[in-house]
């Protein structure tokens, strides 16, 4: 039991809502974000994450609800009066100014002394390693360089809150992986609290300390990447993040430390208890990497099934199998290639056993 009071959140939204005509883009979202953390809003397009971000920035005014930043209510303030800076998806660099002037733009609005501005811009450009490009105009830079200018510009004013709108969206895959770590390193070295919006779960999982999964204007689950992945709280979250197998059934046994589900594929044993009523419809979520596959019958007593291999994808680092179970359900399984030699190769139309251990699955009630 935690006896110390939790720290008040650095950034909090209180039942934040945005209504457009007949649709609620953001529906009573209440979030608590800690100082210095990187927080991701994850969801597919139309879920309201961008609208929420724009409300934090001040470009949209909330229909109802409040935004509290470091104890101050900033809900009604225009963007130029908030200690918040945003890095736009399209970078929005001023095409008529060079790199130096772009980064200095915000500082000049503050009325700092010339020498201070000089020092700060220099510091920012060193941070993103673009000092040699200071005199160039945006159209003379590559996409990755433009992004770094946008980042330097958004950090120049030492904002209390940094907002990132799909930060890696415009980059190609190779550059994306590299930039992910660079970005996090820079943000953490500066120590600024950061809220990012993305539809790419990999981006969210690798960059964020905590993630909020959103759909239709509402937040479905908030947690660390591991919590979201291993302990999803509903079918949508389980299915949205990574791949998952969902076995539908009814709860037939429920104890403190274990339970069981009656499903078309037989009785499924689960290694954790569920607070629910018997015979309620539930689904068991099992991630493909926890699904074991073998042509040889394993020595397990339950959660063991047989099926026919429908599809195989050899992806170098691992194999993806799609197995047709007895009731026709397609089950996904993933095995890492830990050895360079494949002793019992599995191929199409093979009859295989697939199973998982008790603690590998999560019961979902919604």
């Amino acid at each position: 039991m935690n006896t110390t009071a939790p720290l008040p959140p650095f950034l909090a939204t209180q039942k934040l809502t945005k209504q457009f005509d007949d649709a609620k883009a953001v529906d009573e979202v209440s979030l608590s974000i800690q100082r210095g953390e990187i927080f991701a809003l994850l969801g597919s397009s139309g879920c309201g994450k961008s609208t929420l971000l724009r409300m934090l920035a001040g470009f949209e005014s909330p229909t109802s609800g409040r935004i509290i930043l470091d104890g101050q209510d900033v809900s009604g303030r225009p963007p130029y009066e908030r200690p918040v800076n945003m890095m736009f998806q399209s970078y929005a660099l001023f095409p008529h100014l060079n790199v130096w002037d772009n980064v200095a733009f915000g500082l000049r609005r503050e009325g700092l002394a010339k020498s201070d501005i000089q020092a700060r811009v220099s510091e920012m450009l060193q941070l993103v390693q673009l000092h040699d490009f200071a005199k160039r105009k945006p159209h003379q830079l590559s996409g990755g360089q433009q992004q770094r200018v946008a980042l330097a510009r958004s950090l120049a004013k030492r904002p209390q809150l940094l907002l990132l709108d799909e930060p890696l969206g415009a980059l190609d895959k190779k550059l994306r992986e590299q930039t992910q770590f660079e970005l996090v390193n820079i943000i953490e070295s500066v120590g600024v609290t950061c809220v990012m919006v993305t539809h790419d779960q990999e981006e969210a999982m690798s960059m964020a300390d905590r993630i909020a999964v959103m759909s239709k204007g509402q937040v479905l689950q908030v947690g660390t990447p591991q919590e979201i992945y291993e302990f999803p709280n509903c079918r949508f979250v389980a299915d949205f993040i990574g791949n998952v197998n969902l076995f539908e059934g009814v709860l037939c046994e429920d104890e403190v430390d274990h339970c069981a589900i009656d499903s078309p594929l037989g009785r499924l044993e689960v290694g954790h208890g569920v607070t629910g009523t018997l015979n309620m419809p539930v689904a068991l979520a099992v991630r493909p990497e926890k699904m074991r596959v073998s042509k040889v019958r394993p020595d397990v007593s339950h959660n063991l099934m047989q099926g026919v291999v429908q599809e195989i994808a050899y992806l170098g680092a691992h194999n993806n199998y799609i197995i047709k179970a007895a009731n026709g359900q397609l089950v996904k399984a993933m095995q890492a290639n830990t050895s360079r030699h494949n002793d019992t190769p599995i191929t199409w139309d093979d009859e295989v056993y697939f199973w998982w251990y008790d603690d590998a699955g999560v019961v979902l009630r919604s």
């Binding site: 470009f59 225009p78 130029y80 970078y91 915000g106 004013k157």
Partner: protein
């Protein structure tokens, strides 16, 4: 490809026939002598094939023959006045046209076609009729004076017609669409996210306008100013109908020389100088203007 050559040559042919050739004819006439009897000018070569170039046609524009100070002729005065008025017209068009174009560019898309139509609607009516309409508005017994007297705001009519003011009003009115349309074309391409970025970095809407919108609309401003300034210099009808006798502009002077004095050589010389005065700075201007990209696509 022969077909391609043919198609490309058509505009060149057009320009040659209707632009280069007339100009060359003008140029030719500006070097000859006044003709005898009814002929407007003498040929450049006489019966023996000797060339007679009359440079005095040009020289007399800048210096009165038989003494006088250089550049102190009514011609130079008329040039100066025309350029000054054209300049002021361009400035007034910019002052009125910029907010107009800005409002147009930022209005909801469904209203824009109708609003653009309103801008271009005056072109559907006769140019001359519109100028006469201004006479009707501005004259001593015109609508403005009558309304103000009826309301008791003034006792005697304000003398507005045939002055600098009435001429500038007419010029600005007529040339306004030429400023609005290029400005609109430029402003409508402005990326709103750039303004959002400016707000985000602490610029108030006014500052963002001055620091982002205006610099990025430089090209539109230049295009609009050129489209207003160049024809305004040679404007003939509006000064004649709305301007006073002291506002003689170069267009009127050329007309007088051509048709009243029947002095084609001097008239063409005046025209050639006018073209040089306008075209040369423009050519330099376009060479010097730096090229920037209006937006950056990541």
């Amino acid at each position: 490809m022969p077909g391609r050559r043919f198609v490309i040559s058509l505009p060149y042919l057009w320009l040659t026939l209707f632009f280069a050739l007339p100009f060359l004819i003008l140029f030719y006439i500006s070097f000859v002598d006044i003709g005898e009897d009814l002929a407007p000018f003498k040929p450049l070569w006489d019966a023996q094939g000797v060339l007679h170039l009359k440079y005095e046609n040009y020289w007399s524009i800048f210096k009165s023959p038989g003494g006088g100070v250089l550049f102190d002729t009514l011609y130079v005065e008329a040039y100066g006045r025309s350029i000054a008025y054209a300049f002021v017209t361009a400035f007034l068009c910019l002052l009125i046209g910029y907010p107009f174009a800005y409002f147009l560019a930022r209005s909801p898309e469904r209203y824009r076609p109708a609003l653009l139509l309103l801008v271009m609607l005056p072109f559907w009516t006769s140019f001359l009729l519109r100028i006469y309409a201004w006479k009707g508005l501005l004259s001593d017994f015109g609508i403005i004076n009558q309304t103000m007297m009826a309301l008791g705001l003034i006792d005697e009519p304000i003398y507005m017609l045939y002055t600098d003011i009435s001429m500038l009003v007419g010029m600005t009115y007529v040339y306004l669409p030429f400023m609005v349309l290029p400005l609109y074309a430029n402003l409508v391409k402005l990326d709103v996210r750039l303004l959002e970025a400016a707000y985000d970095l602490g610029a108030s809407p006014l500052r963002a306008f001055w620091l982002v919108t205006v610099p990025l609309s430089r090209r539109g401003i230049a295009a609009g100013c050129v489209l207003v300034f160049v024809p305004a210099v040679g404007e003939f009808v509006i000064p004649s109908l709305l301007g006073g006798p002291e506002n003689i502009m170069i267009g009127r002077v050329v007309w007088d020389e051509m048709f009243s004095s029947n002095n084609w050589p001097r008239a063409t010389a005046l025209a050639v100088i006018m073209i040089a005065v306008i075209v040369l700075p423009l050519a330099l201007f376009s060479k010097l203007a730096p090229s920037t990209q209006d937006s950056v696509r990541p």
